[in-house]
Amino acid sequence: MAINAAGRNIPDSIPGYGEVRHFKGHDRRPPEGNRFGKRNRTAFNTRTDKTLPDIKAAISASGLKSGMTISFHHHLRNGDFVVNAVLDACAEMGIKDLVIFPTALFGVHKHLTKHIKSGVIRQIMGSVNGPIGQLASEGGMSVPVVLRSHGGRPRAVTSGEVVIDVAFIAAPTADKYGNLSGAVGRSACGSLGYAHSDAEYAQCVVAITDNLIPYPAPCIHIPQFFVDFVVSVDSIGDPAGIVSGTTRVTRDPMRLLIARNAAKLIEATPYFRDGISFQTGAGGISLAVAAYVRDAMREKGIKGSFGLGGITEFFVDMMKEGLFERLLDVQSFDLAAVKSIGENPNHVEISADWYANPWNAGCAVNMLDTVVLGATEVDRDFNVNVNTEADGALLHGIGGHQDTAAGAQLTIITTPLLRGRIPCAVDSVYTVSTPGEVVDAVVTEFGVAINPRRQDLINAAKEAGDVPLVTMDELIETAEKFTGPMSPVETEDRIIGVVEYRDGTVIDVVRQLKKK
């Protein structure tokens, strides 16, 4: 056992996970060794067609066996059919004990619970949410879930800490020789950023498409030399669940209030100047912050450099208007973003490695001025929990939270102070997802708390005069006044989830919930 730099008591070894490298603080684990190399292969010119009749044929051809690791990407989001179809096929073929390594799972993947219960899936390394998260939290998986950030995952892949035996890549368009595109096809999802490292490093790569077209495909995101097999199916997903039509800014007054406070803070800092780079999520508050910042940019005649991360119509419009020079897109959220990435050379697809991997010669988050992120809880030390809910259930992934927080000059967490009767500012978060040392400010409807570590920001906000400053202690006290003391979550000792920091050290663990 050791108390790590986030103040968490973590065992030196965890059954089903292995030896623990303890979190020693941000940027404290230097990279080791060389990048992982996958096996060499060739496709002589006698093999000019990589297509196979169905998923089962591809599974056989890939050499997938029980106990191996298979990976997926999540650009089809809640519309995805591919993960479920591949696991159904594995089950039918008698393959068991699989480790699945998705970049994220969604509600549509609750279908997998039957494969977890039957032993087809032994472990999940990736975000779990909804019913699968609940199942894992209650002890329904024999091996702990391993959570990694969008940068931590490609780090684990490129360093060889995780070896992918077969990567299954959902491809909105493919040709018979394995050139893949996300920008075209009826299931178009735009960027395929999260799939790049899998394509590059997996021992075998299977593309699954519902738009097989003659060689060569247009707008190629993943090139043929990574792809071993191509399978054509009727449908890889439901377009309605893949992209949203338009992304609207919320009219919820509470969210707008929080967003306005965040925008005031951004405007007060020295980062709000020509050349600003910016990332927000597609959630209600984040998008509203973007709207306020956009208005301020227009008003003050400020031109930004780039928008990063998950790209929405909102960012596309800002680029068209000249408020950003370029968009670096790891995931395209809506139809406008999908269209833009296929047409506009200034809308650039980037891989997760490029986006956020701390172990390369420089990832995109390092160039980021400002990021606006969410939280389920924040605490006195500015630690942020995005993984577990107030009842202790592991219901969310890390996403790019750790990476952008670590990379950006100004990391802002926006959260309501209370969700219903649950306080979001607490003495100590239940799970540390992102350490407080990389968080600069917490913005709520009750005011803005700036990390005392950033006296420069506190001074800038005071000088601006319109940022409603409070201390974190005041936020916690206000929340407590409303809710009273909360009863602690009751757990067993058994660890059901391991939260890795982006450098591969263990920052926290999640324990099994006690039966009620």
Partner: protein, 292 residues
């Protein structure tokens, strides 16, 4: 003068809004025990509102409670419960009779002395939601020194006028003019009714500009998103403030020198212009004092 550009209604049965309404920085909040609360929930809402008032956390907002009308069985319990919490005022719906205001004045005085609150602290805001109420607006405004403002109704008034809502609320032009005239004659504020379409920002701005031009000090608000728009309309621009400062300074200088006539930028300025300039500075929060 107290700024009353916006008074935000907070449903008396919604703890979420009761506790956070002031965060939207309206000039005042109205904790509502009347229309927002079903008859079966009156008791529960009253207790909730009392508890929220006791916490006393409303920033710099003027805190008022809309009680139930004086022809209901609830109004006495309402004031007995909320007035001892030390609120700034009560808002009485459907006022038609100056005698009711006198009766309310007396009831408030009794509660205040019992609760050891300065007698006269609790102000009265009168909602005139019937033709008769509008007709008697001046007498109602003069019925007690506590009356701080009179406000024309919206939907109830339309019903009483046997008409319906038109796109530009033409049916309320007359009543609004009568109320603003009565208010200024009686020396109280004229506060306008709510703008019901919470998604029509342009319509809200138009209406706010119009009632400001009529002489209203502000509007009631049913959605927090309306606040910045109304504030924007009712807050003087930098140019207006600059000009007003010049006029007020020139007037002070003239008075100091014992001169009757005031000159600004080489032009003579009348007394009413000086008065208006002072009012502009009050609205901008740069000058204390009131119209009374």
């Amino acid at each position: 003068m107290r700024l009353r550009r916006t008074k935000l209604y907070l449903p008396g049965n919604n703890p979420n809004m009761l506790l956070r309404g002031h965060l939207f920085n309206p000039d005042g909040v109205i904790l509502d025990l009347e229309d927002a609360v079903a008859v079966s929930e009156k008791d529960a809402a009253r207790i909730l509102v009392r508890d929220v008032l006791r916490r006393g956390d409303f920033g710099s907002c003027e805190v008022t409670v809309r009680i139930n009308a004086m022809d209901t069985e609830f109004w006495r319990t309402d004031i007995e419960t909320v007035v001892p919490c030390g609120i700034d005022g009560i808002r009485i719906p459907k006022v038609e009779n100056p005698k009711d205001i006198a009766l309310m004045d007396e009831a408030l005085s009794q509660i205040e002395s019992k609760a050891k609150i300065r007698v006269g602290k609790t102000l009265i805001f009168c909602l005139l939601e019937t033709a008769l109420g509008i007709w008697r607006a001046y007498d109602i405004a003069k019925a007690s020194r506590r009356v701080a403002a009179i406000c024309p109704g919206g939907e109830d008034l339309r019903a009483d006028l046997k008409t319906t809502r038109s796109p530009n609320s033409e049916e309320l032009i007359g009543p609004r003019r009568m109320v603003v005239l009565a208010a200024h004659a009686a020396g109280v504020d004229a506060l306008d009714t709510v703008f019901a379409d919470i998604t029509d920002d342009a319509g809200l701005r138009r209406e706010s500009e119009w009632v400001k031009q009529l002489g209203y000090q502000g509007k009631s608000v049913i959605h927090p998103n309306q606040i910045p728009i109304i504030h924007d309309v009712f807050t003087p621009t930098a140019k207006e403030i600059e000009q007003a400062k010049k006029i007020v300074e020139a007037a002070a200088e003239a008075a100091a020198r014992g001169l009757g006539a005031v000159q600004v930028d080489g032009k003579m300025v009348d007394k009413p212009v000086v008065k208006r300039a002072e009012f502009t500075l009050q609205r901008a929060g740069l000058k204390a004092g009131g119209e009374k």
